[in-house]
Subunit: 334 residues, 2 copies
């Protein structure tokens, strides 16, 4: 139900006050009162006598980002086979991945637990071990939260706050941009998905070298999330499919799954890597940096083109259309 | 489990980055990077050559507030007997009450629903009717959220963001302060609790006339929340018990409950009124304002005193100690 309900909601919220970026990106972006962005909106357009009028275009000002993600036992994880501390860790990491996809710096988390009444305190303690570990690792404060016990499965809902100057949006990809992806893809469910590495540090470093035009994190599958980002930007992509970085886990999984390693990389969810686009000049700069300097490898996988859809480059031949695949929320739900 | 777990958590989060006000108040308070408060912390204490050094004490700067509250079917409400739209409305209103208790202005909400798989879309639609109504009424944007379907009861988790200059803390009550309470108390469960009036507008108007030293909203009972606020401030109160404003609903309920109207006002939860303290000068100013000017009645119920605990003034007699009563989270669980 998720996609269609979100569309309904976007319509219904039009009469409410709006935020700079609302429902539909990795995180929301809010102007801060008194910031340049907020003042820009409130001052008359024709004022030209003040000092700041010479700064054209206005340099982006500090904004707030906020995102929220809930994971539930039996739906998003399985407490019988996965350590509760890892699940707690993951609940923070997946939200950090959304913050990274905005090019933002995380500041604080609000953590809400719904706990099975039986063993509530023990469960909360174990989950918090992982939450505290992840928050410690990425410099995130725990600003608050809520705890309830009830007759239901463990549910963890995290809201993460951060700040950003010039957020990376899904909608900013430009024709001609180079498309990069971080790390290597596929096979996350073999284990990596419990301890994903949110690309917070990479995002911070990338900002020093390049202007990222668009970004998204891979939660539902490389091709599906790439397609979402491009659709938001009303563009398409020509892909060098053989360049897609395939993880070792995808190769291993492929032995039993009946699917090729590339198919895993193309469609497996929970990679929590970033896809981002930059112009050719910045792409060249990025390619001169080592994985150490960027904290991880980044791989050029294609270009943004005006024609919508995903297109595979075939040497000496015409382009072939390829189709996104991945985990679509709600399709397996009733 | 809630109080003891929060104590544990406060200890464990000490190694993490901190926020200006963290776990334990109605909402968290975060400094904004680049704000005067954040700059004050980062600049050397002895710098005296810059222009702002003449502003002593530094005027409070804009900060961000954030709070979160979760309500679950069968624990906090009953979907069999209560309209889903009202429950949605309440999920926003109880968070707005926390924002009001900080003296803050709400900006945006993130709304997370865990939905029973059966009828998920219909339930989400009805809940959102109330959410949208409350957000519209109080000028709150819906910045984002999450939706899941699962094998469990309806759960609504809301994070509310806002801004404030000089937040009202539980810990700020001063000896000699006058204690006020808004509206009238008790009997909320007869119906008012589903459509509580968060005192957002009152808080905004109050700021124009008075310096509020401490505030809390009544979620678990007047005497219990008053006691919490005073304990945070390490002070106590002398109360004119007969001044406590008793609601009509408390009188009505009293007929069947075997408890006096005053007992209802003293201990009933979910009033969502504010208790606040100001000095005598500001108290006199407030008492000259009409209920219209403040949006609701405010009633002087006693004074802050250095001796901890709640004390009842008895004319022509010594003070009598009285004890807080109300809803203590976790006591009825397990």
């Amino acid at each position: 139900m998720e996609q269609s309900f979100l569309a309904y909601l976007r319509g219904r919220t039009r009469s409410l006050p709006s935020v700079a970026v609302g429902i539909g990106d990795d995180a929301a972006v809010l102007d801060l009162p008194g910031s340049a962005a907020a003042l820009d909106q409130s001052k008359p357009r024709d004022s030209s006598s003040d000092e700041s009028a010479s700064e054209t275009p206005a340099s982006p000002s500090l904004q707030q980002v906020a995102c929220t993600d809930q994971i539930i036992d039996g739906v998003d994880f399985c407490s019988d086979s996965q350590p509760l501390a890892s699940i707690g860790y993951k609940s923070i990491a997946i939200n950090l991945s959304d913050i990274a996809a905005m090019g933002a710096t995380p500041t604080a988390a609000l953590v809400t637990l719904a706990l099975p009444a039986h063993n509530a305190t023990e469960i909360a303690g174990e989950v918090y071990e992982g939450i505290l570990e992840a928050c410690g690792q990425y410099g995130v404060a725990i600003a608050g939260g809520d705890l309830s016990t009830y007759d239901g499965p463990l549910s963890i809902s995290v809201t993460l706050l951060g700040t950003v100057t010039g957020p990376w949006l899904r909608s900013g990809a430009q024709e001609g941009d180079v498309i990069f992806v971080t790390g290597s893809l596929g096979g996350s469910l073999a284990g990596r998905h419990l301890r994903p590495v949110p690309r917070i540090e990479l995002a911070i470093r990338l900002r020093q070298y390049a202007t990222v035009n668009a970004a998204i994190d891979i939660s539902d599958g490389f091709s599906l999330d790439l397609d979402r980002m491009l659709a938001s930007s009303r563009v398409g992509a020509e892909l060098d499919i053989e360049q897609i970085p395939i993880s070792d886990a995808a190769h291993t999984m492929s032995k039993d799954s009946g699917r090729s390693p590339l198919e895993h990389a193309w469609s497996d969810g929970e990679d929590f890597e970033l896809i981002f686009t930059v112009n050719e000049t910045d792409a060249a700069k990025i390619e001169q940096l080592s994985a150490d300097e960027l904290t991880t490898t980044v791989t050029r996988v294609g270009n943004v083109v005006g024609r919508t859809g995903l297109w595979k480059r075939v040497p000496g031949s015409k382009l072939e259309r390829v189709f996104p695949q991945g985990y679509v929320h709600g399709e397996t739900d009733e």
